[in-house]
């Protein structure tokens, strides 16, 4: 076994020296680098510009990326981490593993002001309740209507203990109902068909027709319109506003190629990267594109108000709020 390890590491070392060009290692989530995701095209575009090699390392999802960093500490073999969201940045920052980005974020096209010196956003979307137009004649127009509406029309939600959209909806409820969130959950409960461990299970049940509604993103109908030419699904626009998810990247202090890493973060806010986001990652681009957004994106729900807790607020209260949810949902 030791021989095998030695051979493998020697081989890797040789492979390293054989390539004179620098290699940029980026941890990201798996779906970003599947063949239909934005990863492959972004790799080609950046490599053409930098004369370097971009190496994606695909880890399950954003939470797993952060946990891997916590386990690896300063010995992580990455220059950049791409794929955390604003609910994770506070914890990521406290690991002390990240460096300042030094990128100009003033030209970003986010629905909020961005002044974080460590994390650079690359895309965003608002959470939204997606409904089946054949089954829901009068979709809820507010979170209040969803909570108090007809309990024979069901929604599938995700579990805030295990999934990012699940946590997003919990924060949405909290930001609208505040101290009354527990009561609101109890009122919503008869409408909840079930609470799934992740987005896939919920969306699978929804498209199978088990529930009339599901929690997803405002951008979900764009996929069905563009890729499936289907108008069957639409997002409900809520008066109180929609909770926002922003996906970010950051460079590590221990990066062996800090200059290259900074170059990538700057590249990330431009069209070479952003062009691949809308119809590959199905999110809104956080920076300028070289061509206008596909027309279908113009038809999507535009939230009148953006709801978002600061990362520090989420980190401080997440456990208590999840407990509150659990209490209200378990009685």
């Amino acid at each position: 076994m030791r021989n095998l390890v030695a051979t493998v590491s020697m081989f890797l070392a040789l492979a390293g020296t054989a390539k004179a060009a620098e290699t940029l290692n980026i941890y990201t989530y798996e779906s970003f680098i599947t063949e239909w995701g934005p990863g492959p095209a972004i790799k080609t575009a950046f490599e053409a510009e930098c004369g370097c090699t971009l190496n994606w390392v695909g880890i399950q999802d954003g939470v797993a990326i952060l946990n891997r960093l916590k386990l690896e500490g300063a010995s992580a073999k990455a220059d950049i981490v791409l794929g955390l969201d604003t609910n994770l940045t506070n914890e990521a920052r406290t690991t002390g593993l990240f460096a300042g980005h030094g990128t100009d974020t003033s030209k970003l096209t986010l629905p909020i002001n961005w002044n974080d010196d460590v994390f650079v956003p690359y895309d965003y979307a608002h959470f939204a309740v997606i409904y089946d137009r054949d089954k829901v004649a009068n979709p809820p127009t507010s979170l209040k209507e969803l909570v108090e509406g007809d309990s024979s029309q069901k929604i599938v939600l995700q579990d805030p203990r295990t999934s990012t959209p699940g946590l997003g909806f919990l924060l949405w409820m909290k930001s609208v109902y505040g101290d009354k969130a527990g009561e609101a959950w109890a009122k919503l409960r008869p409408r909840i068909l079930t609470v799934t461990p992740g987005w896939s299970e919920a969306y699978g049940l929804f498209t199978k027709g088990e529930a009339e509604m599901v929690l997803s993103y405002t951008t979900s109908p764009a996929y069905h319109r563009i890729a499936e030419k289907s108008e069957k699904y639409a997002a409900a626009s809520f008066d109180e506003g929609h909770y926002l998810q922003v996906e970010v990247a950051a460079m590590l202090k221990a990066s062996p190629n800090p200059a290259l890493a900074r170059k990538f973060l700057a590249f990330m806010t431009g069209p070479g990267f952003q062009d691949h986001i809308p119809t590959n990652n199905w999110m809104f681009p956080a920076g300028a594109l070289s061509a206008p957004l596909p027309a279908e994106f113009g038809k999507l729900v535009k939230p009148s108000k953006t709801l978002l807790y600061s990362p520090a607020m989420v980190a401080k209260n997440r456990r208590a709020w999840v407990d509150e949810w659990q209490e209200a949902m378990s009685k």
Binding site: G58, L71, I192, G198, G204, G209, E210
Partner: protein
């Protein structure tokens, strides 16, 4: 002395196997404990966890009682009817539910039993305002667990029933026994010997249930320890709590399985001359109708969700999928992982079985001998209640500590998948080994045949079908669950199950349905192939 020297290699092989198993489990525990010590705070125990433990036990006990209880009449009916149209295909389909990703199976079950499923539509045709009871909650969990485990339990029970020696049947017909007496004196004793092992396996699978419990459970009231471990290792990142929970899950299961063993009688295996099996209880019309109904109901219950999967797959662009290089790469990767894991699994299972048997044949009694036999028999199964995310995180820490650990991700997958299939293969090979030993031990001892010659001449010819089935099961189960390497960053390790989950996670449900169908067909081919390759030769009788 001769006996002792003959037994030692087997005991040594079993000890090595046990040590390997213990290393995999203890390695993860130790690594995460050390991480927890280095992580401030955490590791707490609260009311929430008590509720979780209670619910876990409650649903697992109910699921086990239902699955095993319902499997008895099904197994008996199928064993009694040795020839009926569709018998072979049905038994092969019985191996399928466990080989498919839980999410795929859950969606198939929902197609049949859900709010707008086939059962609800059928009911609406019959009764005007008859509405389908809501399955989300304990009902859904039990339904899915029975779907997963009834066929497994029935399949294992049929093996026990078919191993009843022909001599017993001859005696039964000479004594003019009716169906009731046959069940009491012949079938039940044969089943009872296997029941603790089968029930223990089903219980462990239900204890460690995750996707089923969360998706069909309706809400956080349905939370198992497995979910809590997952939670502790995700957003909360509290390795201390994860270690405590894993130990609770492990300890609880070990105690319950040990109790189960205590409550049951040891297996009685009688030497047999392999007379043809002529059952005297198959001719009566009432029995035939009854068996037919039991078999038809069980077949419907198992086959309907599988048909639902097939129907979903009709919407899939099969041609496009088969043209994708990544799909073929996933198939090959799955095959490679499955085959390697199955070989590892079978080798390990066999070494544990022969070691336990050799220890039994050693003279004298002592607590360590009893302990060794017990460890070989069921200790290995405990790996089933170690969550993949836990094993994965623990081994990530260990291998990371060693330096270039990530190149070993494939080895980690193969090892963990192989070990996870061990409990099944033990239960398939175990009874076969026991009856071969009962048939051959004395004869071979007196003729002085041992080692390779005994294996080649006496044991292998009768064990071939069991090995075939065990290999097929192990391979189908190991085709590529990558839960354990979620942290490793192993994008070149794309397997078919992973591909299904990836497509599902990015709106491509039709693709996912098509791939799930391919996976199911693939498993069936494996099972049929293994059966063919190891079919009994006619001159063996």
């Amino acid at each position: 002395m001769a006996t002792r020297s003959r037994n030692l290699p087997a005991i040594l092989a079993g000890s090595i196997g046990l040590a390997g198993l213990a290393t995999v489990m203890a390695g993860a525990l130790v690594a995460l404990t050390l991480t927890a010590v280095a992580t401030p705070g955490g590791g707490s125990w609260d009311d929430y966890l008590w509720r979780v433990v209670r619910f876990t036990l409650w649903q697992a006990v109910l699921s086990t009682v239902l699955s095993v209880g319902l499997a008895i009449p099904v197994a008996r009916a199928i064993a009694r009817r040795r020839v009926f149209p569709g018998r072979g295909p049905l038994l092969r389909l019985f191996a399928l539910p466990l080989a498919l990703p839980a999410l795929v199976v859950v969606l198939g079950i929902v197609d049949v039993w859900g709010r707008h499923g086939w059962a609800a539509k059928g009911l609406a045709l019959l009764v005007d305002d008859g509405s389908m009871p809501n399955i989300y909650g304990l009902t859904g969990i039990l339904l899915a667990h029975v779907f997963f485990n009834l066929p497994l339990a029935a399949r294992l029970m049929i093996m026990h029933l078919e191993r009843i020696p022909g001599e017993n049947w001859r005696l039964a017909s000479q004594l003019g026994m009716g169906a009731g007496a046959i069940f009491r004196f012949i079938e039940w004793p044969a089943l009872r010997a296997g029941l603790p092992g089968i029930a223990g396996l089903v219980f462990m699978l239900c204890i460690a249930s995750f996707t089923v419990v969360l998706t069909l459970g309706g809400g956080p009231a349905a939370t198992t320890i497995e979910v809590a471990i997952y939670q502790a290792l995700r957003f909360d990142f509290d390795p201390g709590r994860a270690v405590i929970l894993a130990l609770v899950q492990l300890g609880m299961t070990a105690v319950l399985i040990a109790l189960g063993m205590r409550l049951t009688m040891p297996a009685v295996t009688t030497p047999s001359l392999n007379r043809p099996i002529l059952r005297p209880d198959c001719a009566k019309l009432a029995g035939r109708v009854g068996d037919g109904m039991v078999i038809a109901l069980a077949a419907l219950f198992i086959v309907l969700p599988l048909i639902a999967l097939t129907v979903s797959a009709t919407a899939a662009p099969m041609g496009k999928l088969l043209g994708e290089a990544i799909v073929w790469q996933a198939i090959l990767t799955s095959l490679a992982i499955g085959a390697t894991a199955a070989v590892l699994c079978i080798t390990l299972a066999w070494s544990l079985l022969i070691a336990a048997h050799a220890a039994k044949r050693m003279p004298g009694t002592s607590w360590w001998k009893a302990g060794f036999i017990m460890a070989c028999g069921s200790g290995g199964s405990l790996i089933l209640v170690m969550p993949p995310i836990f094993l994965g995180a623990g081994w990530f820490v260990l291998l990371h500590g060693l330096g270039e650990g990530f190149a070993l991700a494939p080895a980690v997958v193969v090892t963990i998948n192989g070990l996870m299939a061990l409990p099944y293969t033990l239960r398939i090979l175990g009874p076969a080994h026991a009856s071969a030993a009962a048939d051959h031990d004395r004869l071979c001892d007196s003729l002085g045949i041992s080692g390779w010659n005994r294996w080649r001449l006496a044991d292998w010819p009768v064990l071939r079908p069991a090995f075939g089935l065990a290999f097929a099961f192990a391979m189908a189960l190991s085709l590529g669950d990558l839960g354990a390497v979620a942290l490793f960053g192993s994008e070149d390790l794309t397997t078919l199950p992973l591909l299904i989950l990836q497509r599902m996670g990015s709106y491509r449900t039709a693709d996912a349905a098509g791939l799930a169908f391919m996976l199911a067909i693939f498993c069936l081919i494996l099972i049929i192939g293994a059966e063919r390759a190891t079919a009994k030769t006619d001159n063996g009788r």
